[in-house]
């Protein structure tokens, strides 16, 4: 019912006016091109009549008209009359939808041929640079995507055939890959198609290199995150520096020109949105943290796993563009293959189609995309399976129209069939998401694109046919025509006898039929053809003997064309039996463990690792997750949970001072110094190693960066709260640390042609010194700047995350955990630390620590060592199992670590080796894996011993923790039971049952798929 007056009212609003000006501008572009030859001026006025119009979800006009003029919608409504100058289209029986918007694609981007460009390990590209680019080859936000946009008509057709009329084109190279554009999918030049520039700046949240150490910096997930952080800081600094310099160019050092950083200005000011492309749900959380920290305006291009972190995804408040890349059925046909399919994978197969519905139910803004689909043509199949899993059709439509339009800032131009918007429409012969529905055409910018030829006539239905046989009785039969108009099947029936047509088809307006003449009394084939009219068929035929006859048929029961498509296509949504567990997959928890208010552990041998020593027949009282009493003869307070631990041994939770469990990446090995990266950014709370380690009595771990570089990445200290989010695993008040490494690994002894500095232990010392000096220089710059009274017009120093970290070390706010083997390098680092006035937190491995134990003791560094590893490389040929005892005896705080998810499950037995080799007492030996690592990590105020006031992190063992025959029965963290033999048995059962259930479901689905496929293959033979 919208009319011109309404339209002009809209035009008065300034916003729309502006948009219209823009539109005018884009349309006028072509007008700048001189015309050769004769002008074309086909009127662009169309009236689409008698259609069902779905203007947007929930707004339906059952029969109405859409008027298009010059590429925009002029009028929509039930009673709208076609303008006098309009070309009229009869859309009786058809449905009009708003054009769909593809929110993310790489359409029309030519694949760059791989140039054999040499990349240096430092990440700078060595191919000759042109322009004022960023030092890192993966930071190219300034790139112009339009320059690379060369769409092929076939690719455009593919998208149009799915109902898309506009698409975002996003660059796909690098970490900051550039700004995306919104293009119309019409035919025409880029000048005509561009709808909007700078839709979003794109960030790829994954390591860009393909090979392990190839591709330069960053080559790890955490390196990517660090690069994103530093680049955003740099962009902010660049803006300020340029501004300051423009105010006061005299006497200041001219800041560098950098087009990449300039291109990010609007992003850091929150004026341009970013799209972050993530690959799994943990990366969603990581990306969300960066968005929050830098206050970015962001959209996430999801992975399909979001439902697994629903709460946190919801809490992020970020809109999500969701792929419908639901996994194919895993291979489970052979029992052996099935073994290798994890429950996590099985569950995802089952739950993935429910992802869109779950997110929408949680009020997350969702747009849907064909991106990340293996086969784009499967889009509707996947959408339908999402619908079966709870997505409503109207939500699906919104997610493809209104939501993306809004996310792209184009809600006034796209997303619905409303007056004033662009003439982007989809025309179908039924409900868009129904299986049998065909998309017949799309209208883009007012131009019609035919997708599927609509038959001009439709003779389907039941007819009364009369064949006027010359010299005979007219033959009267019932004619039934079924199937598709171009390819019909049918029969002639009288009473119970029926003749099947051998051929029936329409072409233009003509119908052709052939049938065996035998049952009608003719030997041979009868051929007929005729015209399809309204309720009437008529034409001529030839009998087998060549005689001509006329025939006529009257409609008795026309086929309702849309009825088939709207009818009950099992719309009942499948209730997936999926129950979320955390983490997803095997041994995930249904809920976090309870924390009983008071717990009394009774009658155990308690190894306190504290001043109380070992207590026979001891009791321990836990209140609100803290240890409140340890002793003998303790009484259970009313309501306390009592654990009878007679004959059992209780120890503090074990602590691993060197772990790589629960991390998505370990080494950023591309540069010699990577103090800006942090493993804390990539905690993988799904790592099953954490659960297995809990089952071995481990409760806390020092997650360390690898040993690929002299100054590695920052650490993270966690408790093994299995089932928690990555952030909730962390011990928030642990002093942060960083990994250093010395010796063979960092000088890349395994490489035959190392080109990275350092190549010797001498160089290792120098590079560490140099970076600390750099940090001090950096600090002086900042102090000088901070002291300025008037900062206006003064270029501020650049924030450097690497040097920030190093300053923290110098100021004693961050502990160095240094991988080391030989005594010379241990002594070297001690001296470097002394020169810069700080203390090394721990030496890790420190297998020759026994040679310089007095140096370690005097310096106060902890020694976190292997109990008995040796001889796996040259620098550990002098390693001895007495190392721990010798250092301990010299007064060094010694721990035994794992550096391995396998060993971390039995650190108690590693402790026993301190008794075996060197005769450390049993109580002291246990401290190597309890109190001592806690001291080394400076978390001994909370954990490490069973003392009043500390966290109730403890383990119940079947016997002495130092006996090889003992097993861990229960592991508690803060008064919550995170591992229990009995619960574990139940979980195993659940794993087995769940696996069996889903595997059956997969098999049933495969069977169904097969029979379906077979049916369609069988069809032609009928």
């Amino acid at each position: 019912m919208q009319t011109f007056t309404q339209l002009s009212r809209y035009l008065r609003t300034p916003l729309l006016g502006a948009v219209f000006l823009l539109l005018f501008f884009t349309q006028s572009r072509t007008q700048t091109k001189p015309i050769e030859g004769i002008r074309e001026n086909t009127p662009k006025v169309h009236a689409l009549m008698n259609a069902r119009i779905v203007q947007a979800s929930g707004r339906v006009i059952e029969k109405g008209t859409v008027v298009l003029r010059d590429g925009t919608i002029e009028a929509v409504g039930a009673g709208v009359q076609p303008p006098a100058d309009a070309r009229v289209w009869d859309y009786e029986g058809l449905t009009i939808y708003p054009g769909l918007i593809e929110s993310y694609s790489h359409l029309g981007l030519t694949k760059e041929k791989k140039k054999s460009s040499q990349t240096s390990p430092e990440g700078g590209s060595q191919k000759t640079k042109t322009g004022a680019k960023h030092w890192n080859q993966y930071v190219t936000p300034e790139g112009d995507i339009l320059a690379k946009f060369k769409p092929k008509e076939d690719d455009l057709k593919k998208l149009r055939s799915l109902g898309f009329t506009a698409a975002v084109i996003a660059p796909n190279k690098g970490v900051f890959s550039g700004a995306s554009v919104l293009m119309s999918l019409d035919k025409g030049s880029v000048n005509d198609l561009l709808l909007k520039r700078d839709v979003a700046q794109n960030i790829m949240f994954k390591r860009p290199g393909s090979r392990r150490f190839g591709g330069g910096y960053p080559n790890s997930q955490m390196g990517v995150i660090a690069l994103i952080r530093q680049t955003l800081l740099d962009a902010d600094w660049y803006r300020k520096a340029q501004l300051a310099y423009s105010l006061k160019p005299n006497g200041q050092k001219r800041p560098e020109a950098n087009e990449a950083l300039a291109a990010l200005e609007k992003v850091v000011l929150g004026k341009q949105q970013v799209l972050i492309n993530i690959e799994d749900d943990l990366n969603f959380l990581r990306a969300a943290k960066i968005v929050k920290k830098f206050n970015l305006k962001a959209i996430i291009l999801g992975s399909g796993h979001e439902y697994r972190q629903l709460e946190l995804v919801k809490a992020s408040g970020l809109p999500v563009i969701l792929p419908v890349n639901f996994p194919e059925a895993p291979e489970v046909e052979s029992p052996e293959d099935a073994l290798d399919v994890s429950l996590q994978k099985l569950s995802h197969w089952e739950a993935a189609p429910g992802n869109p519905a779950r997110l929408l139910k949680a009020n997350v803004r969702v747009a849907l995309t064909t991106a990340k689909l293996k086969k784009q043509e499967d889009f509707y199949k996947k959408i339908r399976s999402a619908i079966k899993s709870g997505l409503s059709e109207s939500d699906a439509l919104t997610a493809l129209t209104m939501t993306p339009a809004a996310l792209l800032g184009m809600q006034s131009m796209l997303g619905s069939v409303d007056v004033g918007k662009l003439a982007h429409l989809v025309v179908t012969d039924g409900d868009l998401f129904k299986e049998k529905t065909k998309i017949l055409e799309v209208w883009i910018d007012g131009n019609r694109h035919e997708i599927e030829k609509r038959p001009e006539v439709d003779p389907r239905g039941k007819w009364q046919i009369t064949m006027n046989i010359p010299d005979g009785e007219p033959i009267k039969r019932e004619l039934e025509l079924k199937g598709e108009p171009e390819k019909l099947t049918g029969s002639l029936t009288q009473d119970s006898t029926s003749i099947k047509l051998t051929k029936a088809k329409t072409s233009f307006k003509r119908l052709t039929l052939t049938l065996p003449g035998k049952d009608l009394g003719f030997e041979g084939v009868i051929r007929m053809s005729g015209v399809v009219g309204k309720g009437k068929l008529s034409g001529h035929g030839k009998l087998p003997d060549g005689r001509r006859f006329s025939w006529l048929a009257d409609s008795r029961e026309p086929l309702e064309p849309t009825s088939e498509k709207t009818k009950k296509e099992s719309t009942k949504s499948e209730r997936p039996s999926f129950i979320p567990v955390s983490p997803p997959g095997a041994f995930g928890r249904l809920a976090p463990p309870e924390q009983p208010k008071t717990i009394l552990v009774q009658g155990a041998t308690i190894w306190t690792s504290g001043p109380q020593g070992n207590i026979e027949n001891g009791d321990m009282l836990v209140t609100n997750g803290k240890i409140s009493k340890v002793g003998t003869g303790l009484q259970a307070p009313a309501g306390a949970m009592v654990i009878d631990a007679k004959g059992k041994h209780v120890t503090p939770g074990l602590i691993d001072a060197h772990s790589h469990s629960g991390l998505s990446s370990i080494n950023e090995g591309s540069q010699a110094v990577t103090a800006e990266v942090s493993v804390g950014d990539v905690i993988n709370s799904y790592d099953i190693a954490l659960y297995r380690e809990l089952a071995g009595g481990l409760t806390a771990a020092n997650q360390l960066h690898g040993s690929a570089n002299p100054i590695g990445g920052k650490n993270s200290v966690i408790k093994l709260r299995w089932g928690s989010s990555p952030d909730d695993l962390r011990i928030k008040d642990a002093i942060p640390g960083i990994k250093f490494a010395l010796g063979e690994n960092v000088k890349r002894s395994r490489s035959s042609n190392n080109k990275r500095y350092p190549d010797t232990r001498m160089g290792v010392e120098q590079i560490i010194r140099d970076r600390f000096e750099a940090a001090l220089d950096y600090e002086r710059k900042w102090l000088k700047f901070s002291a300025l009274k008037k900062k206006k017009g003064i270029i501020p120093p650049r924030r450097d995350l690497e040097l920030d970290t190093l300053l923290e070390i110098i100021h004693g706010k961050r502990l160095v955990h240094s991988h080391s083997y030989r005594q010379d390098e241990i002594l070297m680092l001690v001296r470097v630390a002394e020169d810069f006035g700080f203390k090394i937190g721990t030496f890790q491995h420190v297998l020759e620590g026994y040679k310089v134990a007095e140096v370690l003791a005097k310096h106060g560094a902890g020694a976190s060592t292997f109990s008995d590893w040796w001889a796996y490389k040259f620098e550990v040929y002098d390693a001895i199992p007495y190392n721990g005892a010798l250092m301990h005896n010299a007064g060094v705080v010694v721990s035994f670590n794992s550096d391995s998810g396998e060993l971390a499950r039995r650190l108690n037995l590693e402790a026993a080796k301190a008794v075996k080799y060197g005769g450390v007492s049993e109580e002291e030996a246990l401290k190597f894996v309890t109190l001592n690592p806690a001291k080394q990590l400076r978390i001994d105020h909370r954990v490490g011993s069973l003392e009043v006031g500390k966290d109730a992190d403890f383990v119940i063992w079947s016997g002495s923790p130092l006996s090889t025959y003992s097993i861990c029965e229960q592991t508690w963290i803060e008064g919550r039971k995170y591992f229990d033999l009995e619960e574990d048995m139940k979980m195993r059962e659940r794993v087995v049952n769940e696996r069996a259930r889903i595997i059956q479901k997969v098999l049933a689905a495969n069977e169904k798929g097969k029979s379906k496929k077979k049916k369609s293959e069988d069809k032609p033979t009928h």
Partner: protein
């Protein structure tokens, strides 16, 4: 002592020089002197004797003469001149046998020049482990010090890697060390699945092609060997020409004749099934080296009487969804199914330096359900039986070798120490590179303490 140590650090510099120039590394020599051949009767008296094969004897005596056990029990007549060793309160066990190792063939895995366990090529059945075992490897005394008296050393690499050798960890030359060789022909069954992931370079198709080629190669090699055997056997017949010799195929004849077992290494279930199907079909004598997936084929193993060298409990489950104790419990599964098995280390090269931890592989199985006696047998008698020397070693019985250890407790407990050790009656030096360095640096700290008092961090 200091003299020796100085010499030694000189040696180390030499070594690094050698590494740089990639020369063969032959200068490493442990300082321990091999045991003197037993020249008089020795009796361990008053000890608890864990015979393993029979009942444990409290307060017993074990007598051995010329390297063989000749007396055992509570009442043993000691011949004149017997050295009586009072072992009151001590325990005597048979020496431990590690059944799956590269010991002697590698010194430092990361130093290429010291790696001698994998010859080039896919098919090299003629390769013999024993000939390059370094009797002076520093790794041997380290393993020995914790009761490992014998080692089954297996070459690796390719598909058919060569023949293994059972060695004692004491002697002057490799011939002294070799106890039995060849023991078996090592076959490393190809990986049957498709590797996926970021670091996989080869496509699925390439992988399948490669796998099929490798499988065909094993089959073809055996077919060639049978043809070769036939041709050689026919040589004696009149008119049959002499057939040129082939070291590789010659080495396989004992396998074809079932005089020598194959050591069939297969880890994943698909590998195990394919390998066993093949080997049973070829009618070979089989010893299966495998890990936790072996629990899926216990009945097949039992039916075909195939023994298993279980490659260690101290590993993680192979699949994310599997119970955490799967590798710990697999020996129990084997035991309950009546499969003959022993427990070894992983066989990885890294493990060669850490064979001393073999008893703890067995202990973990015991912690998770395997009867303790079975766990002990799994590192003593069972490996001896599986390797075909069960009548000579592996338990304390009259007539068997006097290869035994004297301990202050259960050797499967970490805190237990081996106090004395005999290999074929020879008394073994229990010192090692480790104890020497320990002593050296104890001296350092004794001196510091003498002059400065104890150093502490406070």
């Amino acid at each position: 002592m200091r003299q020796i140590v100085n010499l030694k650090s000189g040696t180390l510099y030499l070594i690094s020089a050698f590494i740089l120039s990639l020369f063969a590394l032959t200068v490493i020599a442990s300082d321990q002197v091999p045991g003197k051949p037993q020249d008089h009767p020795i009796a361990l008296v008053g000890c608890k004797i864990h015979t393993v094969s029979g009942a444990t004897i409290e307060n017993g005596t074990v007598l051995f003469i010329d390297g063989k056990i000749t007396g055992l029990g509570t009442q043993v007549d000691l011949p004149e001149g017997t050295e009586r060793i009072n072992a009151k309160g001590k325990h005597v066990y048979p020496g431990l046998i590690t059944a799956n190792t590269r010991l002697g063939l590698v010194e430092i895995n990361a130093v290429r020049a010291t790696r001698d366990f994998a010859e080039l090529g896919d098919v090299k059945p003629n390769i013999r482990a024993e000939v390059s075992i370094n009797p002076d490897s520093e790794l041997l005394p380290v393993a020995r010090a914790n009761g490992i008296t014998m080692a089954h050393t297996i070459p690796s690499g390719g598909l058919i890697a060569g023949t293994s050798a059972l060695i004692t960890l004491d002697g002057w030359t490799w011939e002294d060390l070799t106890y039995k060789a060849p023991v078996g022909l090592y076959i490393d069954w190809p990986f049957m699945g498709i590797r996926k992931g970021r670091f996989v370079i080869k496509s699925e198709k390439e992988q399948l092609k490669e796998r099929d080629e490798r499988l065909a190669k094993i089959r073809d090699t055996f077919a060639q060997a049978r043809a070769y055997m036939k041709a050689k056997e026919a040589e004696g017949q009149k008119g049959t020409p002499y057939h040129g010799s082939d070291l590789r195929l010659d080495a396989m004849i004992p396998v074809l004749k079932k005089e020598m077992p194959i050591l069939l290494h297969a880890r994943g279930i698909k590998q195990i099934q394919a390998a066993l199907d093949w080997a049973i079909d070829e009618d070979l004598k089989i010893i299966l080296l495998s890990g936790q997936d072996v629990r899926f084929v216990t009945s097949l193993l039992k039916e075909n009487n195939i023994p298993v060298i279980y490659e260690g409990t101290l590993t993680t489950p192979s699949r994310r969804w599997e119970p955490y104790d799967t590798p710990f419990r697999t020996p129990l599964n084997l035991f309950e199914a009546g499969v003959t098995f022993c427990i070894s280390g992983s066989g990885r090269t890294f493990e060669a330096a850490h064979e001393r931890n073999l008893p703890y592989q067995a202990a973990m199985a015991a912690a998770y359900g395997l009867p303790k006696e079975e766990a002990l047998k799994a590192v003593t008698l069972y490996p001896a039986q599986i390797l075909g020397v069960g009548d000579r070693v592996g338990s304390i019985e009259i007539g068997k070798d006097a290869t035994l250890i004297v301990t202050n407790g259960d050797p499967l407990e970490i805190m237990t120490n081996v106090e004395m050790e005999f290999i074929q009656g020879r008394k073994i030096d229990l010192s090692s590179r480790h104890t020497e360095l320990y002593e050296k640096y104890k001296t350092k700290y004794e001196r510091i303490e003498l002059t400065n008092g104890k150093v502490t961090s406070k």
